[in-house]
């Protein structure tokens, strides 16, 4: 089965931008740190953050790459609210994560209002060992603050796997 149709390929280069409706806030940073079980005091304690050279508490580095806060979406039938390309991939596939490449350029503080752009960088079709088709879609997200300062980049690979029938 061909997954990389002309209709799908047309998404390469497409860009979408999101601006968060409010600043991240201290509570969302504490919530995330608690949820992942990371007790680094720089995430919650002003003095610890100052001792580490920060002007305010900081978010765990991967936080901006993991949250969907900025997308301000409503949950779909599956409960998902984050960014999606809704690629017109032929029926009979399932979607899994391939991997991530994160770069962190500046600390993220509670007063940051996220400005996020997503771009489809490329697509590649492969054949699995069992002979089914795989479509690898690589996208780049860039996270900036309200002054335009680059905070982080997230290159994400998603894989559409043909489900054997």
């Amino acid at each position: 089965m061909t997954l990389l149709t002309d209709e799908v390929r047309a998404y390469i280069g497409r860009t979408v931008r999101y601006t968060a409706p409010e600043a991240l806030g201290r509570s969302s940073i504490r919530y995330f740190a608690r949820a992942v079980g990371d007790d680094n005091p720089c995430y919650t304690d002003d003095e610890a953050a100052a001792r580490a050279g920060h002007r305010d508490v900081v978010a765990p580095p991967t936080f901006v790459c993991e949250t969907n806060q900025y997308a301000d979406g409503r949950p779909d039938d599956d409960g998902y609210v984050g960014h999606s390309w809704d690629l017109p991939v032929p029926e009979g596939t399932r979607l899994v994560r391939g991997g991530h490449e994160y770069e962190f350029h500046a600390p993220v503080h509670p007063d940051v209002v996220l400005d996020v752009s997503w771009t489809v960088e490329g697509m590649e079709e492969k054949t699995s060992r069992s002979g089914t088709s795989l479509l690898l879609v690589t996208s780049l997200a860039e996270y900036r603050d309200q002054a335009g300062t680059l905070l982080a980049r997230n290159r994400e690979t998603l894989i559409y796997q043909e489900v054997a029938t």
Partner: protein
């Protein structure tokens, strides 16, 4: 947090162990605004032939960073993380993050330390969840905290 470890190539980081229970997946889903049913709905997972709700793979990115920062202390700044998923992890499975220093460079008053990491399910089968992970962290050479 141990902190202040002198970086040397070959150093094995203290393994980070975590059991990702349903309650942890729900907390993570809330904290990241991702309420996808795959991460908490047992019946939804079963309909798709899965043995249970699956751990959101991005959660492992947070654990990779946590292991490195715990090792090198609060002034350590992680500058990049690269990781690939090898297999799904299901609610209730214990995981273990292992890391090893593969490169240390001294630059601009910092040690730039490269750590190779892997996440495995911490049971007898020990399947790999995240492979080929590589995290780069910069630690000030003096290793001291800034006076308050």
């Amino acid at each position: 947090m141990t902190g202040g470890t002198t970086p040397q190539v070959g150093l094995a980081l203290t393994p980070l162990r975590r059991c990702l229970r349903s309650v942890d997946l729900v907390a993570y889903a809330g904290a990241t605004w991702d309420w996808h049913r795959l991460h908490f709905d047992q019946a939804y997972a079963a309909e798709r032939g899965l043995p249970g709700p699956i751990v959101d793979g991005q959660m492992f990115g947070a654990l990779l960073v946590e292991q490195v920062q715990d090792e090198f202390g609060p002034r350590a700044q992680v500058t990049s993380v690269v990781f690939r998923f090898a297999s799904m992890v299901y609610a209730g499975e214990p995981v273990r993050v292992d890391g090893r220093v593969v490169e240390v460079e001294e630059t601009d008053g910092c040690h730039r330390i490269t750590v190779d990491q892997e996440v495995t399910v911490d049971d007898e089968e020990g399947r790999t969840a995240v492979k080929g992970a590589r995290t780069v962290v910069e630690v000030p050479v003096d290793g001291q905290e800034v006076p308050a």
